[in-house]
């Protein structure tokens, strides 16, 4: 066993001090929030009763059909949003891979939704798809329909997915465009020369070479979509809540801080699990089936 001399301790201390500004901040900001939520979910930091260890809040929430429906609904919205956003981002990244007149402007326009706050975007969409919104008014005016269609608050959550994709796709594009552009043109030419179709080139060349970026985009979009509140509140279905909305309801309407903390921990777990699963599945699909 190696003896730990004072100089080693000094060296370790210096290393830890150097890491402190970065690592310390991460531990402070993330660690405290997560540990607070976990502690609250098991009875600590109780604002309306004794602060002591208890699994009652977990038992209550895990038995709640509302939580189950929220988890499934949020997982569905996040999964579809991340898949569609990343799919579209790939399409645009491939299109913008080689510069052409106006490509810089197009790239800028595609990223513009990132600068629009989510709530504003939701209200803008509401104006378009509402009962007396632009689309319905136009369809009525052209006599295509005789009475307005119900497009907002649809039970599947299409409007929420649409907004998620609108908002998250530019973000995915930002992550993907660099790796896609870094693939040498001659690699594409070589694949084409060897008989690969456009789809094969994408599947066998682009996807494997940008796998890490794709996983990052999928994870980030999934996590961002899983925590949605504003889109859901404005245009989401009324019969089911997103996780964030449900957490708010439990805390705000029922004043159950500890149960809301349970929902928060479930939301974080679902985000992490879903993101990791997405990354693992994409890894398997891209590299596992290559041979």
């Amino acid at each position: 066993m190696r003896a730990y001399s004072p100089s080693n301790w000094k060296h370790t201390g210096v290393v830890l001090l150097c890491l402190l500004p970065g690592l310390g901040l991460i531990i402070l900001l993330i660690g405290t929030v997560i540990s607070m939520a976990v502690a609250q979910s098991v009875g600590y930091f109780n604002f309306s009763g004794p602060s002591e260890f208890s699994l009652i809040y977990w038992q209550k929430q895990l038995a709640s059909p509302f939580l189950h429906r929220s988890v499934l609904y949020s997982a569905k919205i996040s999964l579809l949003s991340s898949l569609i956003s990343v799919g579209l981002a790939y399409m645009f990244a491939m299109w913008l891979r080689r510069p052409f007149p106006g490509s810089t402007m197009l790239g800028g326009l595609l990223k513009a939704p990132m600068m629009v706050p989510g709530l504003v975007a939701a209200f803008l969409l509401l104006n378009v798809i509402a009962f007396h919104g632009f689309v319905n008014e136009f369809l009525l005016w052209t006599n295509i329909i005789s009475k307005p269609l119900r497009m907002q608050n649809d039970s599947f959550g299409t409007a929420v997915i649409f907004l998620q994709v609108w908002k998250q796709m530019p973000f995915a594009l930002l992550v993907l465009i660099g790796p896609v552009q870094s693939i040498h043109n001659e690699i594409f030419d070589a694949a084409r020369d060897l008989g690969a179709s456009a789809w094969t080139r994408f599947r066998k060349i682009v996807l494997p070479l940008t796998l890490t970026a794709m996983q990052a985009a999928l994870i980030l979009v999934f996590i961002r979509a899983a925590g949605d509140f504003s889109f859901q509140v404005i245009v989401g279905p009324r019969e089911v809540s997103s996780m964030a909305q449900y957490m708010y309801t439990v805390q705000r309407l029922y004043g159950e801080w500890n149960e809301a903390a349970v929902v928060a921990v479930v939301l974080m777990t679902m985000s992490l699990t879903g993101a990791l699963l997405l990354a693992a599945v994409s890894q398997f699909l891209v590299t596992g089936r290559r041979r």
């Binding site: 001659e186 030419d189 070589a190 084409r192 020369d193 060897l194 060349i205």
Partner: protein, 357 residues
């Protein structure tokens, strides 16, 4: 192997730049043709047009008589070796080689045969499971060649494939590629700007300039009988001067007056009264010891500077009869004394007669 016909091919870009102008070449089956020229002369554009990557403005490409001008690259009977090798970095050597045969949905047994053949031909059997990044530049280039050969194409197109290799490796791979082409007999179109590479590897060389073919001929003809000043100057070193031809008294032997003296020049052309450029190669000059004044085809020049190259010495000289500051180059085995006056003799067949002045 296949025969390739390039018929009056032109390519003009939207901005009006003419990259190719009426290029016509017939490449025989199994021939090794090199497209040689300076950067921007259109040689890579022509190669990529043959492969189908660049659509042409006019003209045709025929492979074994079949018009492939509008066919996409994947439908043409060609395969390309790229300057950057363009190996798929996430695939092993074997997967790279099998990429084409698999796209063509060949049976597993046929794929296995082609993989084994290709690996053996380029001597990379021991490296089949390695990723390209684990190979040297020369080995990567051989994988690129094996990948192209596994397609069994009629024509293999090489886009400056040796330009990323160091000088010694380039020299070695050059011979390996030529030997492989001779052994397998595939038709090869090879693009390079390296004249030594072109001279060493080709059956014929097409020298290009500004989108046009300046001369197409076997390497020895390109070097010894350049068609014009551009070819003479681009391939090797050349001394080019203007000459005024006078009447001749013997068949195919012409008397030409130049600024460094009068020379007898052998040529089959009728050159009476013409003013043409002539050139000779530095190595064809011969130093004559104690030559009497006015010896035929001899001129005197003073050594200005010289560069010892090991096997030869390049000497820059200024003719003493020349009023101008023009210099000529000669090659000798050993260095001479700076400022020494030497008598230089040029044989009548050392000259090439070029275009009109």
């Amino acid at each position: 192997m296949a025969r390739l016909e390039i018929r009056e091919v032109s390519k003009t870009y939207p901005n009006g730049f003419r990259a190719l102008e009426n290029v016509s070449i017939d490449v025989k089956s199994g021939e090794f043709l090199t497209l040689l020229g300076p950067s921007g002369c259109g040689k890579t554009t022509l190669l990529k047009a043959i492969a189908g990557f660049h659509p042409v403005s006019s003209g045709k490409f025929l492979i074994d008589g079949k018009d492939v001008t509008t066919d996409s690259p994947e439908r043409r009977d060609t395969a390309m070796c790229f300057q950057s090798y363009a190996l798929f970095p996430h695939m092993t050597v074997a997967e790279n080689i099998l990429f084409g045969p698999r796209q063509n949905r060949l049976s597993k047994s046929e794929c296995d045969v082609r993989l084994a053949d290709s690996l053996r031909q380029v001597d990379l059997e021991a490296h089949s499971d390695k990723l390209p990044t684990a190979l040297s530049g020369g080995q990567q280039q051989r994988v690129g060649l094996a990948r192209a050969m596994a397609m069994r194409p009629g024509v293999i197109l090489f886009d400056e494939p040796l330009s990323n290799l160091d000088a010694k490796l380039r020299h070695q791979v050059r011979f390996e590629m030529r030997a492989l082409q001779a052994e397998l007999g595939f038709t090869a179109i090879y693009v390079t700007h390296d004249q030594a590479e072109a001279l060493a590897m080709s059956d014929r060389i097409a020298v290009m300039k500004a989108g046009r073919i300046e001369q197409i001929a076997p390497p020895s003809d390109i070097y010894d009988r350049p068609a014009n000043r551009f070819v003479a100057d681009f391939i090797g070193a050349a001394n080019i001067i203007s000459a005024e031809f006078m009447a001749t008294d013997t068949a195919n032997m012409w008397s030409a007056r130049t600024e460094i003296g009068t020379f007898k020049i052998a040529s089959d052309e009728n050159l009476t009264g013409k003013k043409r450029y002539i050139c000779w190669r530095p190595e064809s000059a011969e130093i004559v010891e104690n030559a009497p004044t006015n010896t035929e085809n001899t001129f005197t020049a003073k050594v200005v500077t010289q560069a010892y190259q090991g096997n030869v010495t390049d000497i820059v000289m200024r003719p003493v009869t020349d009023g101008s500051n023009d210099t000529v180059s000669i090659q000798t085995r050993k260095p001479e004394t700076i400022r020494a006056e030497l008598s230089i003799r040029l044989a009548p067949d050392a000259f090439s007669v070029l275009e009109d002045v």
